[in-house]
């Protein structure tokens, strides 16, 4: 059997088993670091140079970063010490992979390509006679991946300089004053195109070619200025430390962005060559001022009490709400120290308990308290042909001038034990209450806005964190270390809006449907979506005319997207100069809605869509509605069903998941067990001649993401997420395939 592709190329109709393997390549990363350091009586310095070169698994995409770090400390006078560090990095990204979108996203196309399409034909026939993208599919948003990789360009350059200088003056041996100023600055230039001739683009006016070019320039600056006054004294068995301080954090981002559409000269992607120009200049400024104090008291090295108070002022909030004071108290008791009669094998024991509050405005953007307008760059003519301004409300989010800072208050208690200096045990229980979380909740479009910035009620997180370390075997040549960490977290939404009737808010909708909501009484991050309609007997109900699946009357819950269980087990073995270790980790107890499987389903690429393939139709396993009995008010009081015998055409049947946005088929347990890391190394230092130029040599081999031991979601890695925005947790969209990496690390000391 043959198929005809690209207007007349006849090729065998055979499966192409590995589109992913054929399109993507093996990526590589080289990192070289040289560190120089010296120290003396009055100070020291440390200089480090590093170069990292990476080629992505996506063809024509790579990344380079060069960094220089310089640190120094110097005693200027008897009581004055000055220290500081300067870090510079230069980054260049060529064609960062585009993912999780429709256009230009190679995984979206690769995962939804017909599995009879030979990739080399896509490559060879990428362009038509005019040099435009060959329209190979009726769905032109699925860009030919080779067009996306080679015709589109995207260049990012970033120079970043950050560092700080600290001066500390010791008045006496127990009292000091310290001042510090630090700045983080970067300049980032990016430009990218949407190439002329891309199939999904509209035509340009006469005399121009289509296409788009974007130039984006950002300058970022964050300045932190702080001071600290500290006193530390002992009075017999008592010790006291008192610290007072203040900080001012100022952050500013400037952004120039110009989008141009259509060009005079083809393939010249510049702003000057463009026809329609849409420049934007944005500023974002915020500041947080803080004053804080801390007191620490100790008794005989076994009883400790620590108390803090902090006041923050946030520039993004209104005068009435911007100041917030929050305390913390922690205490600990090293009981093995306190009592003399502990057996020798009981090496260490500590009990601790604490309470802390924190406030923040990080989820509030500057200027979110007011409605702003924008005048469009391009005018529109009135009937006399005079160009007129066009203005818009510059937001789809209802601003909120009365936002309060988010607050978190947390109780914590822990026990830390060590036996024989070989076995360690550390357990913590916590109870964290979050109030007034700030988020953009979805509202009715009929309000003319899409979201509304609000303080969201209350939620609680309770959990246990556990760390177990042990050295089961230890001889002079051999050592086996075992480390096990695990955590269990259970969250619950207690309250949402001010109104008790507000029991659900929607915080995000996935690129390929599915919603993330917060629901009172449920764990945080509930996934919702339409399900298949079923009758009271649990039989699936199909449309009596078309035979296609029907959906539930409203979106239904599928569970939380946030894992309950997270942990890992590391085993490390040392034998003479060899070391070998491996880490197995897991995340369990959460769900996801897979956009990749959704696309595979509606395009007939999912194994589940083979049902009916031979016959050309599907008869859904279930019932259809025979009759509905209605009362006078028109309400349905009784429904009778009969077995479904309607033959539904294949394509329409499987596409129902898109047209009716049915998500049930694509909900999976998102848990996994992975062999995350294996390292193997040898220390050659023992083999080196003594007193030579080279002091130490060590070689390590590291393999990351080695094996997926267990997962539940079909066809994708549960960590293979297109993006990881907080309001889209659990809503998977096609990301790059996850990769296994193998690395070698050579460490030489001179």
């Amino acid at each position: 059997m043959t198929q005809i592709l690209f207007d007349g190329i006849e090729v065998p109709y055979v499966p192409q088993p590995s589109h992913v393997g054929a399109f993507y390549r093996t990526g590589q990363t080289w990192t070289n670091t040289v560190t120089l350091s010296s120290g003396g009586e009055f100070g020291g310095f440390n200089l480090s140079l590093s170069n990292m070169a990476n080629t992505s698994i996506v063809p024509n995409s790579d990344y380079n970063r060069k960094t220089i770090n310089l640190g120094f400390t110097q005693n200027i006078a008897n009581k004055l010490n000055v220290s500081g560090n300067v870090n510079y990095s230069n980054e260049r990204i060529k064609n960062p992979p585009q993912i999780a979108e429709q256009d230009m996203s190679t995984p979206t196309t690769i995962y939804s390509l017909a599995n009879s399409m030979p990739l080399e034909l896509l490559k060879e026939n990428m362009k038509d006679a005019n040099g435009d993208e060959f329209v190979y599919s009726r769905f032109t948003n699925r860009t030919n991946p080779y067009w996306a990789a080679y015709e589109r360009f995207d260049q990012v350059k970033r120079d970043r300089l950050f560092g700080n200088i600290t001066a500390r003056y010791n008045f006496t041996d127990w009292l000091y004053l310290q001042g510090r100023i630090g700045q983080d600055f970067y300049a980032r230039d990016q430009d990218y195109n949407f190439p002329t001739g891309t199939a999904s683009l509209g035509n340009a006016p006469e005399g121009f070619v289509n296409g788009q070019y974007v130039q984006d320039t950002r300058r970022f600056r964050e300045v932190n200025t702080d001071f600290l006054l500290g006193a530390d004294r002992s009075f017999g068995n008592f010790g006291a430390t008192l610290t007072l301080g203040g900080n001012r954090m100022y952050r500013r981002m400037d952004r120039d962005n110009v989008v141009v559409d259509d060009f005079v000269v083809r393939d010249l992607y510049t702003v000057m060559n463009g026809r329609l120009k849409d420049p934007i200049y944005e500023i974002s400024e915020r500041q947080v001022n803080s004053l804080y104090g801390m007191a620490e008291l100790s008794y005989k090295e076994f009883l400790f009490l620590n108390a803090t108070a902090r006041n923050d002022w946030f520039s993004t909030l209104s005068a009435a709400n911007r100041s917030i004071l929050y305390p913390s108290v922690t205490g600990s008791f090293v009981f093995t120290q306190a009592f003399e009669n502990f057996p020798n094998w009981f090496s260490f024991g500590k009990l601790r308990a604490g309470y802390a509050e924190v406030g923040s405005d990080t989820d509030v953007q500057p200027y979110a308290d007011n409605l702003y307008y924008r005048v469009n760059n391009n005018l529109f003519p009135n009937p006399d042909g005079q160009q007129q301004p066009v203005g818009v409300i510059n937001t789809t989010t209802v601003p909120n001038a009365n936002l309060r800072p988010m607050r978190v208050s947390e109780w914590e208690a822990g026990l830390e034990l060590r036996f024989l200096d070989r076995i360690g045990f550390n357990i913590t229980y916590y109870h964290k209450l979050t109030t007034d979380q700030i988020l953009a909740a979805q509202i009715s479009d009929a309000s003319s806005y899409i979201t509304q910035l609000i303080n969201v009620g209350e939620s609680v997180n309770r959990g246990v964190e556990l760390l177990l370390t042990a050295t089961p075997v230890q001889t002079s040549n051999f050592k086996w270390d075992l480390s096990l960490n695990g955590s269990y977290n259970n969250s619950e939404v207690l309250k949402l809006g001010a109104n008790p009737a507000d029991t659900i808010i929607t915080v995000g909708t996935g690129q390929f449907d599915g919603e993330l909501r917060q629901v009172v009484g449920q764990p945080l991050g509930q996934l919702y979506g339409f399900g298949y309609l079923r009758n009271d007997l649990g039989q699936q109900v199909f449309d009596a005319n078309s035979g296609r699946p029907l959906r539930t009357p409203a979106q239904i819950p599928y569970g939380t997207a946030i894992p309950k269980w997270i942990g890992g087990i590391t085993n490390t073995f040392n034998y003479k100069g060899f070391n070998f270790s491996f880490l197995v980790d897991f995340k369990l107890g959460n769900k996801l809605i897979s956009g990749t499987n959704f696309n595979a389903w509606r395009h007939g690429l999912h194994k589940g869509t083979l049902v009916g393939r031979e016959q050309g139709y599907v008869v859904g396993n279930g019932v259809i509605i025979q009759e509905e009995v209605r009362n006078d008010a028109g309400e349905v009081t009784e429904i009778s069903y009969e077995p479904n015998t309607v033959q539904s055409p294949l394509q329409a049947y499987y596409e129902t998941v898109r047209s009716l946005r049915i998500q049930e088929e694509f909900v999976s347990n998102a848990g996994f067990w992975k062999l995350r890391q294996v390292t193997f190394g040898y220390d050659f230092t023992g083999l080196l001649p003594e007193n030579k130029f080279i002091r130490a040599v060590r070689l390590n081999a590291v393999a990351n993401n080695v094996l997926l031991l267990k997962k539940w979601v079909p066809n994708i890695d549960p960590e293979q997420f297109g993006f990881s925005s907080d309001n889209l947790i659990g809503l998977e969209a096609p990301g790059l395939p996850t990769t296994r990496s193998i690395g070698f690390n050579l460490n030489v000391k001179f």
Partner: protein
Amino acid sequence: MKKSIIYFLTTLTLLTGITACDKGFDELNKNPVQPTSLNPGFLMNYAIIMASFPSSTLPYELAIVQQMVTPYSGVLAGGNFNQDNRPVTLGNWNNYYREVIKHTTDVMQMTMEDESKTNLYQMARIWYSLAAMILTDTYGEVPYFDAGLGYLEGIATPQYDPQQQIYQALLTVLEQATANLDDTKSIETGDVLYGGDVEKWKRFGNSLMLRAAMRLSKVDTDLASEYVAKAVAGGLMQANADNAAIRHDFNYVNPVGNILNATEANNFYLAKPFVDYLSSNNDPRLASIAVRYVGATSGPDQNSAIDGTPPENVYVSTIPADQVGMPMGFDNATIIPVAESQGLASFYDYSQLDRTRMGKRDAPAYLVTYAETQLLLAEAVIRGWVQGNAAGLFEEGIRADMEQLAEYGEDTAVPPEAIEAYIQAHPLNTANALEQINNQYWVASFLNGPEAFANFRRTGYPILTPNPFPGSEIQGDFIHRLTYPDAEFAVNTGHIREAISRQGPDNLDTQVWWDVEQ
């Protein structure tokens, strides 16, 4: 020691003083590059431009009235298969609430109390009514009285209003707004619709009121005839120069033209009932509307024909006799043998709306026209609600629509002699006047999906054969409304449930208040 403590305290006081807690924060949190107020006229211009029909009208309204159709499913499924495609049915909802209602509401708020902006206030009210009418005609019960107030009044989940109340309010608002337009007050010359011409705004508002009144012809003839009379008394559109049109350019493109030249360039075709109606009546408009890439076997064949480099055996024809409409009821697999049986090279060989002429990206979009107004008036005369010469109005409606085609460009202009010949050949006869008038209305409102769909439901004309697609989801013969956005079930649950309990299930079959069987 004592000295140290004094030093300590002095320093502390000093530093605390410097930090000064929140000095300058009010100033810092004001956006220095964006205004917090703007000339409402600029916002009005935006609301006007954004009222152009969204591209979702192609898969739904234009397919329901059988003027254009696609054989494709997925995102394009809709009226072609009589299927509920939720990501698409929300097209009108999102466009009109998020853009038009939003900005006209803001304009009304800014101008309501401002004597110097009284004309702008009335213009915004009329424009808001236009959007609200499209919304309620599409979905039935929709938020009207509480809509658009997410910011101004904090109404995040507005309640739905029965369509009868919405229509009553629309008629009242239109009556007041047109009456209060005043050419002795400040004129909004920057207005992109009419340059602020008060007389033209009055004629437009009255013509919209006529449309709203006629919509009630099956449910409330008293109210309908009362407001038809008021609209006529107030003064209707008098020429094509009075048309309410968005004159798109390449900076603000026509959404329908845009999609027909971009992602869906090769996917929409003129439907057979529309082509057959035009060609069987020797309608000269077919030459302005249609194009056929004769012999085309693929999308690239069509595209290279437009670029002037067609493959061998492919050529471009706009000759009416060459045009072949795509029959209703087929998908991209089942249409293939049908095309073959008609002697076509492939289904790419069917006629399309010419995307280089009426379907171009910068094509004007007509919201209310003189031609439509004349035809509605002709119907009102037939119904005996106003005095007039129905035949003359009918004739003038046809003439106006044909003349209007010249506004797309020279290559769509209909020659005057062709217009007169058509009019001579198609006089109004009283036996089937309503059908004749509304068939012409169907042609005159081509590309105005919401209006063509509403008028088809109201009058039952043109008489169309139900779309025979085998996978149809509807119980009745035709789609009667579009379904609500899924987001409403998530965030406005209580109110949408109330609406559904009053109106009927949220499907494509439920009939809106003014759409009753007669």
